[in-house]
């Protein structure tokens, strides 16, 4: 069975606000990154979706579940649940433009995922050329979190 | 009645009259026997399930309400464990487990199989509680009764060679009518039915004990 949230309303803005705040704490203090793998991984997942514009989802029923009578009768009984991520996407786009204006989504995501990985593994974060990158990434997640609050 | 030697066993297998499948290694084939490996299912008698082995529980009346009691008694009697490869099952001292062979065995009408324990395991305390006789025409996995006669638990891994089967040629092919349920196949270890055929000697329902 699909793990559908028991709350029908979408709480993705809250989720990503929390995750973005956790990421900012990691950028402020990279030594805690190894303990924050879960939030960093979930942000990396979001970025992956952003890279491929893979946001709209529906909760797919099993092939035969979809055919069984209770699901099949009328369109009004549609089980499709599309997660609307407009607020999150807007906040991402705004942060992208503000901090990394001019680079493609592909390059943005590669850069950010690389930095998240370094923080999660506490490796390669002391190099001088990395510090500026970390600062930019921090600004990105601050902007992202602000965008979510105002959405 | 004579036991088949290796060359004859192999000939019968090649001609597909006798089937032991799969044979994973040439080491399984001895001078006059084939080693059998442990399968993946263990039926253990559930100690709390029954107070004693009561033949009355094996008898089945015509009463439809009896169906539930009969099925429940049978299913509650054993705990069933499925153990994938590379996982271990511990057989504790004094415990009896019904297990299938990994191999599927199919005997022609003129052969009978006799299954005994491999001596290397017997020396660790693992016993095949009774020598298992496989009737001509049999098709399926072989059910083995494994008992731990030692002092400490024995770790058993599915796939291990624990028994061996010898094939005896009968003085004539068994008659087709005697190959009972010749097209039935045994996929699981088979629990015994100690009452079948001896119902006349059971206490009748309602009679004083």
């Amino acid at each position: 069975m699909a793990l559908i949230s028991m709350y029908e309303r979408d709480n993705s803005r809250t989720v990503y606000r929390i995750l973005a705040d956790q990421a900012v704490k990691c950028f402020d203090n990279p030594s805690i990154g190894a303990e924050e793998k879960i939030p960093l991984a979930n942000l990396a997942r979001l970025l992956e979706r952003y890279r491929y514009d893979a946001f709209s989802d529906h909760v797919a029923l099993g092939i035969l579940e979809a055919l069984s009578a209770k699901n099949s009768a009328l369109g009004a009984d549609s089980r499709t649940a599309v997660r609307h991520m407009e607020g999150v996407i807007s906040a991402l786009e705004a942060a992208h433009a503000r901090v990394y204006g001019g680079i493609s989504r592909e390059d943005l995501v590669r850069t950010l995922q690389d930095l998240l990985a370094r923080i999660a593994s506490s490796s390669g974060i002391d190099e001088p050329e990395t510090r500026q990158k970390l600062e930019n990434a921090r600004r990105f997640f601050v902007a992202f979190a602000e965008g979510l609050k105002s959405a | 009645m004579s036991a088949l030697v290796k060359a004859e066993i192999l000939r019968q297998i090649k001609e597909r009259r006798l089937v032991v499948s799969p044979i994973l290694s040439d080491k399984q084939i001895g001078a006059s026997s084939i080693d059998l490996r442990l399968g993946n299912v263990f039926l253990m008698v559930r100690a709390r399930g029954l107070s004693h082995v009561d033949p009355m529980q094996f008898s089945r009346s015509d009463d439809p309400d009896d169906d539930h009691a009969w099925e429940q008694a049978r299913k509650q009697k054993h705990e069933r464990h499925e153990v994938p490869f590379e996982k271990c099952f511990l057989l504790h001292p004094g415990m009896l487990a019904l297990v299938p062979s990994l191999e599927w065995v199919k005997l022609p009408p003129n052969l009978q199989g006799l299954v005994t324990a491999r001596s290397s395991w017997a020396r660790e305390g693992l016993s095949i509680a009774t020598a298992t006789l496989i009737n001509p025409g049999y098709k399926g996995v072989i059910t083995l009764e494994l008992a731990n006669l030692g002092q400490i638990p024995i770790g058993l891994y599915p796939g291990f060679r624990i028994a061996q089967i010898v094939f005896h040629e009968l003085n004539a092919a068994a008659a087709e009518k005697d190959l009972t349920s010749q097209f039935d196949m045994a996929f699981e270890p088979i629990e015994g039915d100690i009452v079948r055929g001896d119902e006349p000697f059971l206490r009748q329902q309602g009679a004083e004990s």
């Binding site: 991984a41 369109g75 499709t80 | 796939g159």
Partner: protein, 450 residues
């Protein structure tokens, strides 16, 4: 007790329940990895709840939702007992499905999902679920759930339907989704009667539609029933894509399972719903895909005439003997061929091997063993004294089973009454188990030598 305190209390309840489920035995998957992942999620959540502002209602609601999800996960692991589903088949399915479900998000801890398998319900319980809910806060390694119908434990031939479910799981990987959209879906809806919601609606309302469609329309006269909205249109194309996925992963066995199961739930073959197009249109697409893959002529040149004839019977029964009708036939040969080729390439790129037809010798061995009432596998002692066992794809065992099911009594070695479908399934299930034993033994032996 305020909300925050209650949530912390609930964290402890969930932790205790996790401890209790370790009393049970679970065969499939790695319970250690699951336990560790679960503990990390719970610890992360607790760390978030502890400092939360009691006035932050949105955060509190989010945490409550997360805890609820964790509770359900724990409950589901309790049901994962090896005796309730075919674990040999499950292991084979995982080898097929997991490579395509790997993430690549750059972080070192991610990658392979954690597998959970359990059994539930009946026919309509087939499901693969890969965690992909974007409003979930708290996922380290994703959990990949396979659900087998409890009542169909041994019916491995029907389990070929899982190929469709693998498609849904692959969709959750963004990089796959991008390719599936552009290279599989886009060619399918670029032309034809389903190119838009309005054309799809017109198709359902076509006055020249087959009689069963007319009967269904009169059963549901509400015009809403024949109006396709964007959600429904998306869902339908998902189903078409996943059907093709099933074909290229499981081969002709998928077609047989697909037909058997779907026509059981909809014997007309023409009903549609919010999440599924009519079976007849799916079959028409699969017919074209079979043609493209050469399945319509497979077996014609076999030396063994009986086997060739039996493959023909299978073809007639499950692939289709004739061109589909104009209403059902939604896609051109070129559209379907493009989609299939793209799917095969995606699978190969993900190191998941697409289905390849067995050679005649392999298929003959498998069908012959079934006819002799022996579990079909690569066991072979026909040479000298040493076994010359070989690796056989479990999907070929399923295909052999379907061939035998349609022609069980036509071989000389098939003595006695015709094998029942349930017996063929049990023999094939055991054949898959035996093949696992052969593969494990041979692999370990090679490792020991090297």
């Amino acid at each position: 007790m305020d909300t925050r305190e209650f949530l912390l209390n609930e964290c402890e309840n969930v932790r205790n329940t996790l401890r209790e489920v370790l009393r049970h035995e679970y065969a499939a998957g790695d319970s250690k990895a699951f336990y560790r992942e679960f503990c990390e999620r719970l610890a992360n959540l607790k760390k978030l709840i502890e400092p939360v502002d009691p006035a932050d209602a949105s955060a509190l609601a989010t945490f409550a939702s997360e805890l609820s999800l964790l509770s359900r996960l724990v409950h589901q692991i309790e049901r994962s007992h090896a005796g309730e589903f075919s674990w040999p088949f499950s292991e084979c399915l995982q080898c097929l499905a997991v490579p395509i479900c790997k993430e690549n998000i750059g972080l070192p801890t991610e990658g392979d999902p954690i597998i959970r398998v359990y059994a539930d319900g009946g026919l309509d319980s087939y499901k693969i679920n890969l965690e992909n809910d974007l409003s979930v806060l708290n996922v380290g390694r994703r959990i990949f759930t396979i659900v087998f119908p409890r009542t169909l434990k041994h019916q491995v031939l029907l389990h070929a339907i899982f190929g469709h479910e693998i498609g849904h799981a692959a969709w959750t990987i963004p990089s796959h989704r991008a390719k599936l959209k552009s290279e599989v879906l886009q060619p399918l809806y670029a032309h034809g009667r389903l190119t838009s919601t309005s054309s799809a609606t017109a198709w359902l309302r076509d006055l020249n539609a087959p009689r069963p469609v007319e009967e269904i329309r009169s059963q549901y006269p509400d015009p809403y029933y024949t109006e396709i909205d964007r959600d429904q249109w998306d869902s339908w194309f998902q189903e078409f894509m996943c059907d093709l996925f099933g074909m290229v992963t499981f081969g002709p066995s998928f077609l047989a399972a697909h037909q058997t199961l779907l026509l059981t739930l909809d014997p007309t073959g023409y009903r549609w719903g919010p999440q599924h197009p009519p079976y007849a249109s799916r079959k028409a697409m699969l017919w074209r895909a079979s043609k493209h893959l050469g399945w319509d002529t497979y077996g014609n040149s076999f030396d063994d005439a009986i086997l060739s004839a039996n493959v023909g019977h299978f073809r007639d029964a499950y692939i289709g003997a004739s061109i589909p009708g104009p209403w059902e036939d939604l896609f051109s040969q070129a559209q379907v061929a493009t989609a299939v080729d793209a799917l095969v390439a995606i699978l190969r790129a993900a190191s998941s091997e697409p289905f390849g037809m067995p050679d005649e010798a392999t298929l003959l061995q498998l069908v012959r063993m079934l006819g002799e009432r022996v579990p079909p596998c690569g066991s072979d002692l026909s040479g000298a004294e040493k076994p010359s066992n070989r690796a056989i794809d479990f999907r070929h065992i399923l295909f052999g089973g379907w061939i035998a099911s349609i022609s069980a009594d036509s071989r000389p070695e098939a003595k006695g009454p015709e094998l029942e479908f349930s017996e063929i399934n049990k023999l094939c299930e055991m054949g898959i188990l035996h093949q696992r034993a052969i593969d494990l033994h041979d692999t370990r032996k090679k490792e020991a030598v090297s």
